[in-house]
């Protein structure tokens, strides 16, 4: 197990290193870093001085080492627009994004699991068939368009929910949170639902498939034969065996939810990292883009690693396989 774990961590590090290489190459091969990193309003002499200061006159491999050293020390350059440390900017905005992403995943579970259970237990029921059809729509609906329609109906027409911002926040450990106030929850509801829509369909289908797989198995028949109530069979036996694979999938989905928050945040003016990165791409604020990519890659690789390890701890079959 320890050997496997070390190998897996090494693999994760390798991915991060590969990504620094790709980001570095993107910066230096496709674009001219002098144009990217130095403002346009400098004269020739200032320009040369800036190139020397940034080390752009060094050979490429030396520059790469400098870049990685900086990245390792958390120095990914200063934002052109905000004149602030790029990494700090991202980290300041990240909690808002995490709040949104975690809320969306929770919503996906709270809505998707019960619906999926129902559809799995009664696959021939008309409601189950309607749910399956709806899930195809859920996969097909372009998220950004749904967001606009939500705003149209619930903000413009009905006036029930606010269309933008985080609302009132409560600061805990120096970080503002929306979900701790009623007004904040009001603001959170629509963007979280928008981000959750695709995941609800996914969770529902996975739960349904899991239930359909578990139901015909012997231990379920045995539980029924013991005379357990259908509710008890459902919650204690079917649920438990359906949810383990679901947990791993959801863990992996957290990464993509954070990435797709870019779209939701930009529409609902949610002040998270996704919105910041979009603004930075549009204003060519490359240090912030680089910092965002590095943070998300590290986050993503860490999540994958944790899920992988948890999966090995939870499922004895996989654990045995790796120790052999």
């Amino acid at each position: 197990m320890t050997g496997w774990l070390l190998g897996r961590i090494g693999q994760a590090m390798l991915v991060v290193v590969a990504m620094t290489l790709i980001v570095f190459m993107g910066l230096h091969v496709i674009g001219n870093p002098a144009d990217i990193l130095i403002g346009e309003d400098l004269n020739q002499q200032e320009r040369l001085a800036a190139i020397a200061r940034l080390g752009l006159d060094q050979p490429l491999w030396q520059q790469y080492i400098t870049f990685v050293e900086g990245a390792a020390r958390g120095n990914l350059g200063k934002s052109f627009v905000y004149q602030e440390d790029a990494l700090r900017l991202i980290l300041q905005k990240l909690p808002a994004t995490l709040e949104l992403a975690v809320s969306a995943l929770m919503m996906a579970v709270l809505v998707g699991v019960p619906l999926g259970l129902y559809a799995g237990m009664k696959p021939e029921h008309i409601f189950s068939k309607a749910l399956m059809a709806a899930s195809i729509a859920g996969f097909s609906l372009p998220a950004f368009w749904v967001a606009l329609m939500l705003i149209m109906v619930f903000s413009v027409q009905l006036g029930w929910l606010p269309a933008s911002g985080r609302g009132d926040t409560v600061t805990v450990w120096g970080i503002p949170w929306s979900w701790l106030t009623l007004d904040g929850l009001h603001h959170l509801l629509m963007p979280a639902f928008n981000l959750a829509l695709f995941k609800i369909s996914l969770v529902m289908r996975l739960t349904r498939a899991g239930v359909r797989e578990v139901l015909p198995q012997d231990f379920v028949k045995f539980a029924r034969a013991k005379g357990l109530s259908p509710q008890r069979v459902m919650w204690a036996h079917v649920m438990r065996n359906t949810l383990i694979p679901l947990v791993t999938v959801l863990g992996l989905e957290l990464g993509s939810t954070i990435a797709y928050a870019v779209v939701t945040e930009s529409i609902f003016a949610w002040p998270g990292a996704g919105r910041l990165i979009l603004d930075s791409i549009n204003s060519l604020d490359r240090p912030v883009v680089v910092a965002y990519l590095m943070v998300v890659v590290v986050l993503f690789v860490t999540i994958n690693l944790v899920v992988d390890v948890l999966y090995h701890l939870l499922d004895p079959r996989v654990r045995l396989e790796t120790t052999e």
């Binding site: 993107g26 195809i136 993509s256």
Partner: protein, 306 residues
């Protein structure tokens, strides 16, 4: 699956009926899929015939009247000669015309990127299956890495470096999509490579490249076609999303995503139709392709064949 015998088909087609005829029969057995195919055919036709079925060229400034801006669906134009059934946008463009022209760009980008990525990915997949263990391992690790990252993140990354434009969007989609084909093509090629007909071809002294392209590839096509159909839908969605975010196609070549984006600013004043109708067109396109792709998968899946 190409060796399906005649008893397996309920209608017992005569000998001149090809495998494709039977695939068609199986496909049309599902009513939702048939309807989806019909809708898709209409959409493709509308995209192809856009200049002839639109009531105006929405990008010819001579044909647009700013006085007609933001008219409700069903309004008459200011000089009273025509009806805007779906309303007009902020510049006075007929939305119906803008949608059929937008469909052209969305479809072209979606299909174009799927085809290019399909060719590249299939060749890489075949290469991985045939070129030996170390090349295979390297290529498949790369594919794993690409598949494990969310597509939107990859797209943002690539477009952040390269900038906007139709060509760059297609390039981005190709860079993301080829890995799906590569994985499928490799898996299928490895399965096919063990079959007798490959052995027979080898016995005839054909080169391994010739066997790969001439014999194995045709038998790998059905699953690749399913991937292609679903990838077109993904590509159209992603292109629309990127265009909506202002990172996709330029304003001179507006796709459906850009039309929706243009309507965004009018939403808050309750002028819903500018975003609503292009969205419906987008949704219909994606859903139709997804349903057709799902049915294709079922039809081609030998395990589901009776």
């Amino acid at each position: 699956m190409s060796i399906k015998t005649e008893q397996t088909s309920k209608t017992a087609p005569s000998r001149e009926h090809t495998i494709w005829w039977r695939v068609g029969q199986d496909f049309l057995a599902s009513r939702p899929a048939s309807v989806a195919l019909g809708v898709l055919a209409l959409i493709v036709l509308a995209a192809l015939l856009a200049p002839w079925i639109a009531i105006q060229n929405p990008y010819d400034l001579m044909q647009i009247d700013v006085l007609d801006a933001r008219l409700r669906p069903g309004s008459l134009s200011s000089e009273g000669s025509r009806t805007y059934w779906l309303g007009t946008d902020g510049q006075g463009r007929d939305l119906y015309s803008a949608i059929v022209y937008g469909l052209r760009i969305s479809m072209a980008v979606g299909i174009g990127s799927a085809v290019i990525a399909g060719v590249i990915g299939t060749l890489v997949g075949l290469l991985a299956a045939y070129a030996g263990a170390s090349v295979d391992a390297a290529l498949m690790r790369l594919v794993d890495l690409l598949l494990s990252f969310p597509t939107i993140l990859m797209a943002l990354m690539i477009l952040a470096w390269m900038g906007k434009g139709v060509g760059n969007v297609v390039l981005t989609l190709v860079l993301i999509e080829w890995s799906y084909y590569a994985r499928t093509a490799r898996g299928q090629a490895l399965v096919e490579a063990r079959r007798d007909y490959v052995e027979a071809a080898r016995g005839q002294g054909l080169s391994s490249w010739r066997i790969a392209v001439g014999h194995v590839l045709p038998n790998c096509l059905p699953p690749l076609m399913v991937i292609a159909a679903l990838q077109v839908a993904r590509a159209i969605t992603l292109e629309a999303t990127l265009s909506f975010l202002g990172l996709g196609v330029p304003i001179t070549e507006p796709s459906l995503g850009l039309l929706i984006s243009n309507g965004y600013q009018y939403m808050l004043s309750n002028e819903y139709w500018i975003s609503f109708f292009p969205g419906i067109a987008l949704l219909a396109t994606i859903m139709a392709i997804n349903l057709v792709g799902d049915q294709l998968r079922d039809v081609f899946n030998p395990r589901l064949q009776r």
